[in-house]
Symmetry: C2
Subunit: 538 residues, 2 copies
């Protein structure tokens, strides 16, 4: 244990509660009561959705022209004050030039103690560390990938990080858990009224779904664009009727970092084997059938999986009803080959996918509301037959971690990962170890997904099926599968033998630096402070 | 004056207030405080938008299948109780088979004192009179076209009718002025999750925009369809994430009454002349220019106007940026000829328009939110350069009436009429008299639109420009117009000479039967009871 000179307020032992997953979680998160996780599907929300202020057309220009000269003017006219919450979206990924510009403009206006509420942050946002050091930004609630995660891990942030899934972020905004004062929406195309989309323009990024909740529920909404088009901007995924101001800038982002020219299939033989196992598993478990659906991301294994499942679909002559992205050229090829009726797309990762979503009416943008929001009347995620996900760790109870490494460092966001666990068959596709650190462990460092929702763990050393899924095991047996189905403990033991034992438990400081929210807004786990010791990553 | 045996509670003289338009309006409407009209753009709303109850996916089937056997089951599972508000939309117009079915199902379940909240009612809904007589339906808030309007006019309804524009209905729902308990949405296409659209299926009606607010803000939402499609139903103008139950029925409507095969241009020489005057007026007033926009409805004069304006656009080689419907084959032809970039469509009136909205990506459905809601951050209506509307009466102060006839009978809804008055140039295109009753009067029977928003009155006997619009008068003069521009008083005098004097003022009973809301939710005027005397229409 070490002391800290800065960081979130110290919490004493009685400030914690052990939740239904057996995890010790704080009962106060940044000054608000935090409900502990009650079990999957157990928390029943009450009360009304958040109602943003009623506005009147009499406060907006009748000709629809809401342009102001710059972000500073827009923030001033939104009534920027100390302590406000400023939100942004991450569809521009590591190429984003808008979120930082907005926070810097707020700094120039003298604002202090802001809460930054991005849908995710990337290495390009590292300068927000300076704004936190200066007291302009108090803390971040949102995925912190890379340097900001490390900064948070070391206990430097003045408040607790709050990690939410894409669906959890919608839920938090919709439920009024996070009232957004000013949403700053980078828009690859927009008109002067504020109608905006991500599918057209020099900085095209595909869907703008992550900004949709902000546009609907924030008190004030600023659209920032480098591609002003004549009214109406079509499609209007963001509706000008929710927008206060429009700001034109030279560039909202670096196109080469917004989308990759092409996404790359893994070349690792182990990872190719994992991808092949996943595809064969779906076949042997009877999931690949006419009208089925699946979701796979843009990682190397997921892309390779799409190639293998395509072969199987061709062989069996079956067609998917829909596939869900993150979309890439590989999904676009499926659509164009007629192997799926639709791509229902959450984010768009490469140029082929951006082109497709802009032009193919069967390639549809979705939002965290349609796809992931747990506090809706259902969502799309539970209608997906199979989802292929990654993880940093999985334990013998099938619990999984996606936010921290085994050394305790917070380096990743949750993304849609938690939301996807609602699929009919949730598969973690994982290399057995990374940098000689086993991925299958006794107990995950940070619980991000409860084991009861994770059905299958596929590694190059074998496939473990959650014993709860006797139905899957039965079908595999009926179909005489030749896949290496093994108990997870056996896979774990083999890995440990290979790398010389289980990973060393990290020595963490008994003070929280962040919490992991579950999809219903309750606190699933705590991220603990990592000491400033040499040899720890970040 | 006569007494009534039934009808809304009698209001005493002190229960009224004279509003900013000089109209005497009740201060209590169906048990709620009603704000009197304060002047155009003067009322500033306060408080938050309505927040419907937060729901959880755990209350909905994970496989997305929300079907229940019938409307009765759906209503029961929505917790139908006495006094609830049941809403419906009118995109199926006089062919609708769903709203009445829903109210009858509620009657069979023993419900009493319901408020029916349709976006409009039609003659096909006449049997709701029986439900009101039986006490199942207490009163109607919504446009009452035809027999229901007459029933209301005669003071038979147990509550006051509340007439709102399409935008005003959105405003009332959004602002929580009318909390909708159960929305029943007839859907020409839907999936079992509740995603729905109006553009496909045997009962296709085009856009479903009038049902959108209900789907977002109602406590419970039931989708009723005769065309269940596999998930996902695309496009999902109504989102399943807002829907509780889906009911399959044999038929939601009579296609021949939902859309007309073709819409008909007027053949009356007088009305053709009016249409031509309107088009020439737009030309001579400098409004027809590249990138301009206009809105015209589906009435005979409006359709003829589209033909004339098309000729002018061709002659001048100009193209509109957008035209707004109610859409018909005439607007579709403009789009297909390349004379406009977009149709922004509120409702779809004929088969050609239904086909177009289903297939042409430049023919876009809009909603009262995008187009008309006054309590948004602007709306599309004020960005339209010119709108061509009808009216039952217009007075010498350019005030207009669209809901009652000169005999005081309530026979029409407001539709989008009030909302359209925000356009750059608002033109009433009217025959000088109907059935020998002059249309230009001293003072309108029921004030539906304040004269300051009405710029031009075009009749076959001359064109009156509102003296406030000196800018229009200047341009007309500069352009040496040969149109018969005349003072409105002069036109009125000429009409009266022709028909033998001004219309007789109706003798109305000093008890309100309905109120006309302005776009901001305040009360613009009162509709007074019509005595049960022979010789009065309806």
């Amino acid at each position: 244990m070490t002391d800290r000179s800065s960081g979130p307020p110290r919490l004493e032992a009685e400030a914690f509660h052990v939740n239904a997953a057996g995890r010790r979680v704080p009962m106060d998160v940044n000054g608000h009561v935090a409900l502990p996780f009650e079990g999957v599907g157990m928390h029943r929300p009450a009360g009304p959705k958040h109602g943003p202020p009623i506005r009147s057309c009499s406060g907006y220009p009748a000709n629809g022209d809401k342009r102001v000269p710059d972000l500073k003017t827009a923030l001033e006219r939104c009534g920027l004050r100390d302590g406000m919450t400023i939100s942004s979206h991450h569809h521009l990924r590591n190429g984003d030039r808008v979120a930082l510009k907005a926070l810097n403009a707020a700094a120039e206006l003298g604002a202090r103690d802001l809460m930054w509420f991005p849908s995710a942050s990337f290495p390009c946002h590292e300068p927000v560390i300076d704004l936190m050091e200066q007291g302009v930004v108090h803390h971040i609630e949102g995925s912190m990938n890379g340097p900001l995660g490390a900064y948070c891990s070391r206990g430097r942030m003045s408040g607790l990080g709050v990690l939410r899934s894409h669906g959890g972020r919608w839920q938090a905004i919709q439920d009024g858990e996070v009232p957004v004062d000013i949403a700053v929406i980078a828009a690859p195309s927009a008109d002067a009224f504020g109608n905006a989309n991500g599918s057209h323009g020099p900085s095209a990024c595909g869907s703008l779904g992550f900004a949709l909740a902000d546009s609907i529920y924030a008190d004030h909404v600023i659209v920032v664009t480098d591609n002003l088009v004549e009214f109406p901007c079509v499609p209007w995924q963001i509706q000008g009727n929710n927008v206060d101001f429009v700001v034109e800038v030279d560039s909202i982002g670096d196109p080469s970092k917004i989308v990759s020219g092409t996404t790359q299939i893994t070349r690792s033989p182990d990872r190719l084997l994992i991808a092949e196992y996943v595809a064969r598993f779906l076949r042997d478990a009877g999931i690949v059938r006419d009208g089925f659906s699946f979701q796979a991301g843009a990682g190397g294994i997921a892309l390779a999986f799409v190639g293998f499942i395509r072969e199987i679909m061709r062989e069996q002559g079956v067609k998917a009803r829909f596939v869900r992205g993150g979309s890439t050229s590989y999904l676009v090829e499926l659509l164009e080959e007629g192997l799926t009726d639709y791509i229902l797309d959450g984010q768009t990762f490469d140029l082929a996918a951006v082109e497709s979503i802009a032009t193919n009416p069967h390639h549809l943008p979705t939002s965290p509301f349609t796809s992931y929001n747990w506090h809706g009347k259902g969502n799309f995620a539970s209608m997906v037959d199979a989802v292929v996900l990654g993880a940093t760790e999985v334990d013998v109870a099938f619990n999984a971690n996606v936010v921290t490494h085994s050394d305790g460092m917070l380096l990743h966001g949750i993304g849609g990962w938690q939301n996807c666990l609602a699929a009919g068959c949730t598969i973690l596709a994982l290399p057995a170890f990374r940098d000689r650190i086993p991925v299958v462990v006794d107990e995950v460092t940070t619980l991000t997904g409860p084991g009861e929702l994770i059905d299958v763990v596929v590694t190059e050393r074998g496939i473990a099926v959650n014993p709860r899924r006797t139905d899957l095991l039965d079908v595999l047996q009926q179909n005489d599968t030749d896949l290496p189905i093994r108990p997870i403990e056996e896979i774990k033991a083999e890995i440990e033998q290979l790398v010389g034992g289980p990973p060393r438990k990290p020595e963490l400081i008994d003070q929280p630096v962040a919490v992991v929210k579950w999809v219903d807004g309750t606190v699933l786990d705590t991220v603990w402070q990592v000491p400033d010791a040499p040899g720890l990553g970040g």
